[in-house]
Amino acid sequence: MLAAVITFPGSNCDRDLARGFELAGARVVRVWHKETALPAGTDIVGVPGGFSYGDYLRCGAIAAQSPVAGAIAAHAARGGFVLGICNGFQVLTEMRLLPGALMRNAGLSFVCKPVRLRVATADSAFTSAYAKGSEVVFPVAHHDGNYTIDAEGLARLQGEDRVAFRYIDNPNGSMDDIAGVLSANRRVLGMMPHPERAVEAVQGGSDGSAFFRALAALTAPV
């Protein structure tokens, strides 16, 4: 299992995401945003949290135009796995790999705290370790996590079982309490909460370990 973790200027959870994969037994290659190709054999692309390009213009908008974005899009088009966390989720929506948009939190303030999530579907490589309907706790830390989508798009996400996680106590005003969504082929996941901050008990919880272990087991380690 080879994970390519992207670093944009302004990314600040790239190291944490790489470690989440590594602790689960995956091999990780760090990829600078000016690269135009992913390392050969990349199974999953990790688009990390942070403030790519300072979140200037719109969160994720400039990163979506970065040289590496073309390689990520091609990887997704081939049916490759892509995981976007926090700013990474914003980047994936700006790249149109995922529907909808992340707006300013309903409370207008940055919010950092552990939140309880309901696993809304177990039918994806990302969530297969959890039972549908089970509860996990991951931290959130964002200013723009208020998920918004048009009525038709929302109906489609719901009808196709593409909501991966829902907030139990919605911290940001997201529609339908959506914390994470899957692509139509279920191989691209974007989510605002940070499973990579919950992979060891000393961090205050380790509900994210199963998340990364399931991904690491996708293909045999090299």
Binding site: N12, D16, V111, R197, Q203
Partner: protein
């Protein structure tokens, strides 16, 4: 462009006193140019020269076997074993934050982070100690919102976890809020970078963001009192860009790892002037700068403006010439400016060229070494009158007065706006005592706290100064950390007033005594004076930032008691009520003496707790609010009720020092009692954590209702 003529008005406008100007003339033996006057005023203002405080700062203990580098560099450096070091400092951004809270606070964070990574360290933790005016004052809500938002906006984007701090409200800060920002970073002990230049003819390189007109004269502004013209000072506040700072961090660490850097200094107060003089002065060299090569973002900037600009996210570096191409490539990778703007020279000169003209030609070594130093007259703060009769109050009503006040309410409204976990190494988040961050990739951790009780310092500067140190030390011990060293951020009023100077002198003496007794040296710091508005000074606020080491993650003591745990107090409780939180919050009384600090007992009780940590399920230091507040905080955090046996207000809310509240299982409580008896440490069983009720000597209330008050009071006060 013609420079203005030097007139007495112009000299005064630069904050320079007539005797200081006379000294300047004596040094250069001619009338200075406008640019030279600006350079002198920047180097000689209080903010950069510490001219009022230096005499007293020298008395502080700054050494110890753990200290690698004490005050004088960008930040202090302390050994944490295994070839690693923690690098930290605290610095104020008070005046800018009052004028423009968001940018003022944001650039305060930016500045302190730069101080840390300039020395080669990756920042791993930040804290903020904030003091505001009364919530009812018309400016307060605006300042709180702006400052907290600014700290969050900068730190969150930069990517440093904010793990602690303080927020207080008092009328003395109505016209002058305090924003004290702390940052700590991690580096290999043999890869620390200093500011002293070495070698003649070495390229002086400018790195980072471009220079604009923002912040011109900021350091001089920060050294003056406020009056009703402050709105005119808004253009002296800088604007921060955390994105550029994050790129600058990564580029600098990459460049440092390459071995190309001889010395480095960030451009903070007085920008290019201060940084260049610092590098030359420490290296015994002169510096020539060619301002035509400085990257600028505005046209028509004068030499004066470029030398005094406080544009953010800039660094000055002396580079090994043969590594120039590689260094340039690293900065181009990060899309940052990289320009050779001068060189080191053998003569003792600070030579500034612009547009083929010499704009300044000064003896460099005289700029900092000849800065004026004052032995300001001071008077001892008179002893406080004895505390009179304390009004009667029921224990639960007293607790409600505290937890319903924004001073002692739950501060989630603040810290949930800060990313406290980026880096994925945060082991203890803000909210209770010290924050704890793992040393990345190891099984060690560092603990961080910031503390001061300004009421105490005003009543008794010596005891108040000592108490701030003792409380920081205790907070580190309470999480199981060995206290290593501290940084001090001394915020006072106008030092030209003997009574204010007396507060400074007394507090520094108290800080020094406590640091010596606790082997807790001061390794860095900052002084902020003239914190007055229209002649009224702030409460003296010497903030102490403390750092401790957990050699193993197993040493960490939790803050959360278990149901059925007994509550015990280490240390003697006399019931000292003078200057307590209870008097201030319940009755609006600030009277009596501050509690006295027994430094021998402090050390003994702290060492006892560290030695007994395996017996303890949870611990907290006892500080303002006393036993009742600490017990409530522990119980509330764990979601368990607590019952304290005594209903005596002095026992419950007294603020005697050298005390800890610990929770133990009944079996461990017996073992702890035996150990305490053997060690000669006072230990008293005071109650138990259980149920869903808070009971203080039989006066009881449901935890849920108290918790609701505790968790809503802050937001309501600043809404």
């Amino acid at each position: 462009m013609d420079e203005p003529k030097i007139t007495p008005e112009l000299i005064a406008a630069h904050g320079m006193k007539p005797d200081e100007y006379a000294r300047l003339l004596e040094i250069i033996e001619r009338v200075p140019t406008f640019t030279e006057l600006g350079i002198f005023s920047a180097m000689w203002n209080e903010h950069c020269s510490y001219k009022s405080s230096k005499k007293w700062l020298r008395t502080l203990p700054t050494t110890g076997p753990q200290v690698i580098c004490g005050p004088g560099e960008n930040a202090g450096v302390v050994d944490i074993g295994d070839g690693q070091a923690v690098i930290f400092k605290m610095e104020s951004h008070n005046h800018p934050s009052y004028i423009e809270p968001h940018q003022g606070a944001a650039t305060g964070i930016g500045g302190i982070l730069r101080d840390v990574f300039t020395m080669g360290a990756r920042p791993i933790a930040a804290m903020d100690s904030l003091s505001f005016g009364l919530p009812s004052h018309p400016k307060t809500a605006h300042l709180v919102k702006g400052v907290v938002e600014g700290i969050g906006a900068y730190g969150n984007a930069f990517g440093v976890p904010n793990v602690g701090g303080e927020v207080r409200f008092h009328r003395s800060y109505n016209g002058n809020c305090l924003v004290n920002a702390f940052a700590a970073g991690l580096a290999d002990a043999d890869k620390i970078f200093y500011s002293a230049a070495s070698g003649v003819g070495m390229p002086v390189v400018y790195l980072g963001a471009k220079t604009g007109r923002d912040g011109v004269g900021g350091a001089t502004m920060a050294s003056a009192e406020f009056d009703d013209t402050i709105e005119e000072k808004r253009p002296t506040v800088q604007v921060g860009d955390p994105f550029t700072e994050k790129c600058l961090l990564e580029a600098c660490l990459e460049l440092m790892a390459s071995g190309a850097v001889i010395s480095i200094q960030d451009m903070g107060a007085a920008g290019l002037t201060c940084s260049a003089v610092e590098m030359g002065d420490k290296g015994g060299l002169g510096i020539r700068l060619d301002l035509d090569r400085v990257p600028v973002r505005e046209v028509g900037m004068t030499a004066y403006e470029m030398m005094l600009s406080e544009s953010q996210e800039r660094m000055l570096m002396v580079l090994k010439p043969e590594r120039e191409a590689m260094a340039r490539a690293i900065f181009e990778k990060w899309d940052l400016d990289f320009a050779i703007v001068g060189e080191t020279i053998a003569e003792d000169r600070f030579l500034i060229l612009h547009g083929n003209e010499v704009k300044a030609d000064l003896p460099l070594s005289k700029l900092s070494s000849s800065a004026p130093e004052y032995d300001r007259p001071w008077v001892e703060t008179p002893a406080s009158a004895a505390l009179g009769e304390v009004p009667a109050i029921a224990p639960i009503a007293a607790l409600r007065a505290l937890i319903g006040s924004p001073n002692y309410a739950h501060k989630a409204w603040v810290w949930e706006q800060y990313d406290c976990q980026v880096g994925a190494d945060t082991l203890r988040r803000p909210g209770m005592g010290a924050g704890v961050v793992r040393v990345h990739g190891s099984t060690k951790a560092l603990a961080f706290t910031s503390d001061v009780t300004p009421r105490y310092v005003k009543a008794n500067p010596f005891q108040g100064g000592a108490q701030a140190v003792a409380e920081a030390w205790r907070n580190l011990v309470a999480v199981g950390a060995l206290p290593l060293a501290a940084t001090d951020n001394l915020n006072f009023g106008n030092p030209e007033k003997p009574a204010i100077m007396g507060q400074l002198v007394g507090a520094v003496k108290g800080i020094g005594a406590a640091c010596r007794a606790l082997d807790f040296p001061i390794v860095s710091g900052n002084v902020s004076l003239y914190n007055e508005t229209d002649g009224a000074g702030i409460l003296p606020t010497p903030t102490i930032g403390g750092v401790g080491l957990l050699a193993s993650l197993d040493d960490l003591i939790s803050g959360l008691p278990g149901a059925g745990d007994l509550a015990l107090v280490i240390g003697r409780t006399e019931g000292h009520l003078g200057q307590t939180a209870l008097l201030a919050e319940a009755f609006g009384i600030e009277a009596g003496d501050a509690p006295h600090v027994d430094l021998v007992a402090e050390r003994k009780h702290g060492e006892f707790l560290l030695a007994s940590r395996k017996l303890v399920s949870a611990a907290s230091d006892l500080a303002d609010g006393g036993l009742a507040l600490a017990a409530f905080e522990m119980a509330e955090a764990a979601g368990i009720g607590v019952s304290l046996e005594s209903g005596d207000i002095g026992q419950l809310f007294g603020e005697d020092q050298a005390r800890y509240l610990v929770a133990c299982t009944p079996a461990n409580a017996e073992a702890l009692a035996a150990a305490a008896a053997q060690a000669g440490v006072p230990l008293a069983r005071v109650g138990q954590f259980s149920g869903a009720t808070v009971s203080l000597g039989g006066d009881a209330a449901p935890l849920a209702g108290l918790s609701a008050l505790y968790r809503s009071a802050f937001a309501e006060a600043v809404a």
